[in-house]
Each structure stands twice: as structure tokens, then as C-alpha cells.
């Protein structure tokens, strides 16, 4: 599903944010990328959704070299993915429904279908009863669940989550992780960047340990 070959990234000389990363993530994998702050987790994720370019290396997603996709066609890659951020990145002036519906509106899905799919996604994260509220009236955990509902509403092949539990307490973090596990069981490839060892111990199946931009070790449980 995702093949990364000899990936290097340098923001500023002489430091390398990523040094020769290679990894292979299969379809349906539930994968963690972990490491201390500054180890290159977010950089790796940003390269995977083509927010930034690597200095060197190749990445194939769904057998397609994503570095060769022209900028104006990058939406094709992004539609394969659902992205979840630590800071949720919700639109606070729009209701929960509209936040989740945004992805479908981009695709021009008919209104009736949007209602059906948004409701289904919100029910999955157990927020269907808060559909018409504004995100600012929700707790952090609920806001993150809205972000997850938005990421899955289009049935993406891959979910990329960057520190999705970074702002949450342990209980909520476990709740969110259970949710990701449920999504993964439906066949979606899930890649989560986190430095929370507790979560990895509990949910880790395939784990990449990053340190100073290098893969220190890889574990498959």
C-alpha cells in the first residue's frame, strides 16, 4: 500500500530531519510511528500526504509515485487519505455536521447522500446527537472525534493521524485509539504518529521507532 524508499529530508544544513527512511506498510495495517519530539514523525507524515517534498527518496502509494503527481492534481492523492491532526483543525464557525460534510461537498456528493453518510460517520464516533452543535461547545475528546468522523466520512483507503491523542487525557486517548482500531478492522490502513508508549503497548501491531530522523528499529507484533 505504502512503500517508502531511502527517504531523506533536510530543512536546514547540516541537520537531516529524515535520514534514509525505508518502510513498507501493507493494506489494512495498523501502524505506529513513534519516537521523541524532533525525531521526524511529523515530517514523515507530511511527506506521505505530500505537504512537503523529501530532499531525496521515492514513495509509492497504491503503486503510484506520489512525488511525480503535479501540484494541481494532488487532490487525487488526498482523496485516498483521511488526515487527523493533533490540533483537530476544525472549522469553528461551522457546525459539526458541516465540518464532516466538507469532504463530501468537495466531491459534489448530493445533499441527501451527504446527510446519510455524515450521520453514519458521526454515529460511528458516537456524536450523532451533537450534529447541529458548534465544535467550540464540545470537549477536546469530542472535537477529536469530529475530526476522525471527517477523516473517515469518504471511506478513505488510508488514515494518517499526527499525534491524535496529544491533547487528550489517558482515558480519552484510549477511547480515540479504540475508534481507530474499529476503522482499521473495516480494512482501512491506519498510520498513527505518537510518542505515547502506553498506547503503543496496548494497540501496537506494527511499530517504527524513529530517532533523529532514522528508523532505530521496527517491531511487528
Amino acid at each position: 500500500m505504502i512503500e517508502v524508499y531511502n527517504l531523506w529530508k533536510q530543512y536546514q544544513r547540516p541537520n537531516w530531519a529524515l535520514s534514509g527512511i525505508s518502510m513498507n506498510i501493507e493494506k489494512g495495517d495498523f501502524c505506529f510511528i513513534t519516537g521523541p519530539s524532533g525525531s521526524g514523525k511529523t515530517t514523515l507524515l507530511k511527506i506521505l500526504y505530500r505537504e512537503i517534498f523529501p530532499t531525496q527518496g521515492q514513495i509509492l502509494i497504491d503503486k503510484r509515485n506520489i512525488l511525480r503527481i503535479p501540484d494541481h492534481k494532488i487532490y487525487i492523492l488526498r482523496r485516498l487519505m483521511g488526515i487527523v491532526f493533533q490540533d483537530f483543525r476544525l472549522l469553528f464557525h461551522k457546525k459539526v455536521f458541516d465540518n464532516v460534510a466538507l469532504v463530501l461537498r468537495i466531491l459534489g456528493v448530493p445533499q441527501k447522500e451527504i446527510r446519510r453518510r455524515v450521520f453514519y460517520s458521526l454515529r460511528m464516533v458516537n456524536l450523532h446527537n451533537k450534529m447541529w452543535e458548534y465544535p467550540k461547545h464540545l470537549s477536546y475528546g469530542e472535537q477529536q472525534r469530529v475530526a476522525i468522523a471527517r477523516a473517515v466520512v469518504n471511506n478513505p483507503k488510508i488514515i494518517l493521524a499526527d499525534e491524535p491523542t496529544g491533547n487528550l487525557d489517558t482515558e480519552l486517548a484510549f477511547e480515540i485509539m479504540t475508534l481507530f482500531r474499529r476503522i482499521n478492522k473495516k480494512g482501512t490502513t491506519v498510520i498513527i504518529c505518537t510518542h505515547d508508549r502506553e498506547l503503543i503497548r496496548h494497540y501496537g501491531k506494527k511499530i517504527y521507532f524513529l530517532y533523529k530522523g532514522k528508523i532505530l528499529r521496527k517491531e511487528s507484533l
Binding site: Y75, R78, R105, I106, G108, V109
Partner: protein, 299 residues
Amino acid sequence: MIHQKFLFSAKETLNNLWEFRGRNLFSIFIICLSFLIVGVFLSLSNNFQHIAKQIQENLAIVAFIENDASEENINAIRIRLENSPYIEEVHYITSQKAKENFSHKFPELRSIVENLEFNPFPASIEAVAKDNALSLEETIDFVNEIKNITGVDDVQFNKDWLERIQAFSRLAKIVGFFLGGILVLASFFIISNIIKLNVLARKEEIEILRLTGATNLFIRTPFLIEGMVLGLLGSSLSLLLLAIIIHIFPLYLGSSLGALSELIRFRFLSVGQCFGVLISGCVTGFIGSYSSLARFLNI
């Protein structure tokens, strides 16, 4: 699918217009002012054109007869004019009749003329041209032809006025387009900057749209529509204000301009010109918005 996307873009445009109504109103005001200036000069130019047309329609050619011209010469001139396809009617005015006409039209100068020992007014033949029968160039050719007939001393017609009025009309248009052009350019930059501010305010939303798979066109469309709507509203408002000015101007100035009031009169724009102003407004808004997005929205 396209219908759904367009509906979403239209809704986003309305949201943007309402949310940033302060700065949007400012840009509408500037666009309105720019097009109002163009409109005022265009309407002045329209009036000059109208006057020029009236003069052209009532074109009178006067052939002054030499004092020693024989009866045959006068008849030959008369016949030449009467047989011309461009001439509606011909009148022969004797020198005595010309003197009487002058005394009648300018009674205060009558004594001067009557005290003269001779009649200074030559006999003449006045010819009224048919409506729109001749263009200005054709008229000049025709006048030159009459001048060459034996017995004709000089030929006059209200060509000078026609030329002057047409020159005024051109000048009004040029001044209007020059001043308006500068202001339209200014409004173009203002729209560009206002859209830039709106893009900045929506930066986070644009970022989310990009990450969730929106195409560039999808992201840009609401801003482009917004620019066009601002341009359209500004130019429509300028037409409305122009109509009000045209209505109020004569009432306000009354007859204080005297004979000038005929010249400095606004004549409302033609339907084509109105459409031109509206389309220009739209285009200004679109280009302003597009250039801002191209420079600022790095997508």
C-alpha cells in the same frame, strides 16, 4: 455534481460577503466611484453626440452670390442645388431680403445697417440638406463643388460647430476613460487586496480544504465569484447614482448655466453602454480577485 459544488461555492461566497461586509462595502464604494466617473463623462459625451447629430440633421448650406453675378449664373447655382440628391429645399434670398432679415433678428443693430450708404449683405441661396443624407466628409466635398460654380463668392455651412461639438464629445470620452481608467485600476488593486485579506482570514479553512482533497478550482471559485459580485455591485450602484445625478442636476442648477445648460447636460447611457459598465465591473472584480489568488494563494 457540478450543481452541488456550485451551490456550495455560492453559499461560501455569500458567507464571505457577509462576514467581511465592512471591507467589502469599502471596495464596492471605490468601484462605484470609479465607474461613476466614467459614466458621468460618457453621459456628457452622449449629449455632445446628440447635439452633433441634431446639427448634422439640420445642416444648412449657404452659397453667397457675387455682386456682379448675372441672372443666368444665379439660376445655374440654384438649379445645381435643386438637382442635388442631398438637398431638401432651396431658397433664394436677395440682398435686400438679407438686410431685412438681419434688422428683424437684431433690432438693436438695425440703425447701424440703415445708416450705411450701401447694402453690405450679399444675395445668397440657402439649401437645407436632407436628414442624414451626407456625412461630414461628403458635406465638405459637396461644399467645395458648389464653391467652384461661377458666380459663387463663398459657401458657409454649420460645419465648424459640428466639428467642435464632435471634438468636445471625443474629449469628454477621453477624459472620462482616462480618469475612470486610473480609478478602475485603483479599484482593481483594492479588490485584489481585499480578496487577499479575505483569503488570509480563511487561510485555515483553505488549508483544511487542500488537505481534504479539494481541487484548486474548488478553493478559488468562491473568491472569484466574490470579486465578480463586488465588481457587479459597484458598477450597478454607479449606474444608479448616475441616474440620480442626471435627474437632480438640472433641478439643482436650474437655468443658472444659461446657454451652456444645453451643452453641459447629461444624457443617460445607452443599453449597450450600461451593459459595458456592468461587464467591466465584473471583469475588474474577477481579474482583481484572480491576480490576488494567483500571487497569494499558493495552490
